[in-house]
Chain length 349, copies 2
């Protein structure tokens, strides 16, 4: 039974192998073998020719998933980010893309919105598509997604975050160096009452920032004030606003705030206006990440530049190593960061 001819194919559904088999009057499995370079050697030349002629006539396109199934390779790298609206993740993804395509892979991105249920759903989609490897910018300290991916034999690399899981390559920026650069900069401007807003503690970023700030302050010889560190409840401008309100309600107001994320810093600026404070003349403020467009913010943010593109690029290199040698060593690659002084920090009033 031939259901359509080649003429009306252009906008029609794909021709199935079953239709090819029907028209060539062979069994489905014979048609499949006839179209496979290796398998076709096991059946008669006459049948192979007949099936291939029909396939050409019907413009049959071999099913690429079926091919992927045979070779178990899809040449696809999946990346999962927690918040695609934060412009730092597109920068990491650009690096992931470029290294992927240079190695013959295509990178696909999915966004979890910080939601573990979404992460699991997306992981299942990636597994169903048989991606070759996974880059996670979503890692929690104890990460069930990583565990599942590994059980299914999919290599994983963590970017921007470290985990407690052993044997997962990690590619990150140097948080301690970044926070220390900010504290040193503020100390040099005469600030002695410096506060900090750190990220949530369920990822590696938050605890690393708290630890780095404590150490950096100690090294320059400042006494850490009580309640000088606030932990934000998520990574957002609004969390920055909430944290700033807490800090500005301290009995002795800080003269400078190290916001360990540019989004927190934007939230701080909103709250400074509420409190009638001008930045930087009344209070200094730093961000962290050198988020695109915030060099044009009012005031332009003093911040830490993190080489996001290079982090993404290197993550794919690590992933390719992992794919070649699943039991090889898992390294932590920490990229140096850079202080960018703009106009949100000034001499202590």
């Amino acid at each position: 039974v031939v259901r359509r001819t080649s003429k009306n194919l252009s906008t029609a559904k794909k021709v199935s192998i079953r239709e090819v088999a029907d028209r060539a009057k062979v069994h489905l499995s014979t048609a499949s073998r006839a179209l496979d370079e290796v398998q076709s050697k096991r059946i008669s030349t006459e049948v192979v020719e007949r099936v291939r002629k029909v396939a050409r006539e019907l413009e049959y396109q071999p099913n690429a998933i079926a091919a992927g199934l045979r070779t178990n390779k899809s040449k696809t790298i999946g990346m999962l980010v927690p918040d695609i609206a934060n412009p730092i993740f597109p920068l990491v993804f650009r690096g992931v893309e470029d290294c992927s395509s240079r190695n013959g892979y295509t990178a696909l991105l999915a966004n979890s919105d910080f939601d573990l249920k979404n992460e699991k759903r997306i992981l299942n989609t990636f597994l169903a598509r048989q991606i070759d490897g996974l880059i996670l910018a979503t890692a929690r300290l104890k990460d069930t997604v990583i565990e599942t991916a590994r059980q299914r034999g999919i290599p994983v690399v963590s970017v921007m975050r470290t985990t407690e899981q052993e044997n997962v390559p990690e590619v990150v920026g140097d948080t301690f160096a970044g926070v220390k650069l900010l504290v040193d900069h503020l100390h040099a401007l005469g600030h002695r009452n410096i506060a900090a807003i750190a990220g949530p503690q369920f990822t590696s970023a938050g605890p690393a920032q708290v630890k780095a700030f404590r150490e950096a302050v100690k090294i320059v010889g400042i006494q850490l004030r009580p309640h000088a560190i606030v932990v934000a409840d998520d990574f957002s401008i609004e969390a920055g606003q909430r944290s700033a309100r807490v800090l500005l309600s301290n009995s002795v107001r800080p003269t400078a705030i190290v916001a360990c994320n540019d989004l927190f810093a934007l939230g701080c600026l909103d709250v400074f206006s509420e409190f009638g404070l001008k930045c930087p003349s009344d209070i200094s403020l730093t961000g962290y990440n050198d988020t695109p467009f915030l060099d044009r913010n009012n005031p332009p943010l003093t911040t830490i530049r993190v080489p996001f593109y290079h982090i993404g690029y290197e993550a794919v290199n690590q992933l390719l190593l992992r794919m070649a040698n699943p039991d090889g060593p898992a390294s932590v690659t920490s990229f140096p960061v850079e202080l960018v002084v703009r106009r949100s920090t000034a001499q202590v009033p």
Copy 2:
């Protein structure tokens, strides 16, 4: 031949159906049938039980791609954007995601970097993964990617852009209304010498902006000056800089510029500084898109708010309709837009 036991599976490769078949001492196809709800009815209960017991022991996970192959459904929607670093596309993608997941689909994103070769490579990846539908924010006026996708039977919806292809549903913002709101606003501020920067002409956006600007100016009764419209050579801040230099070199300088993209407007601001012009006291400027973070720009941009999230959400609705009825009518959905007046526009000097 059993190659591994359940004990060492946790970090090992997947167990194949062949291993299940070998251990249960049945043919591969019998094992496959035994594990399928429908097919298992065609073989003896004793065999079904034996295969399933082995599968449990080996912790066999049915191959989701194989399942996808049988049903020809992957429950995945692919989206292709030209520039993931432009924050408007993550907004569209958030809408795509939410409508997808509400309908049981997962959305995956890829970025073409405005490059047709990349678009084709990504399309092939999407086809190989058997995505159920494709949302393109990359459509050119004559679009070969759309043509290929359609030939392969994949439903396509175009967002943000229209094409000359017939029968492709399109979900866009109302460009004419947006440009007219900006021209009316500037006219009301006394501006009579208004220039415009339009997008490149290979997408629908550029020509639509040129046409809208000509008509809007005519409606308010302004004589269009020679060289008052510059067409940018790509969608970037740098293209905005180049365009602004051309406009400011006109013998009679415009008193206001309608930049039909916020990125162009940022480029204009850079060039205003070079020319010693202050915005808005010396020259008024509008953007277009209400790009995230630019409400905090210095000066905050007067712009047009486009409901990107809703556009993405509706695109998935259109795609689902298309999937249910591939030959149904293809509509153009045009979303209303809104003027947002900030501090980059002022009374004519």
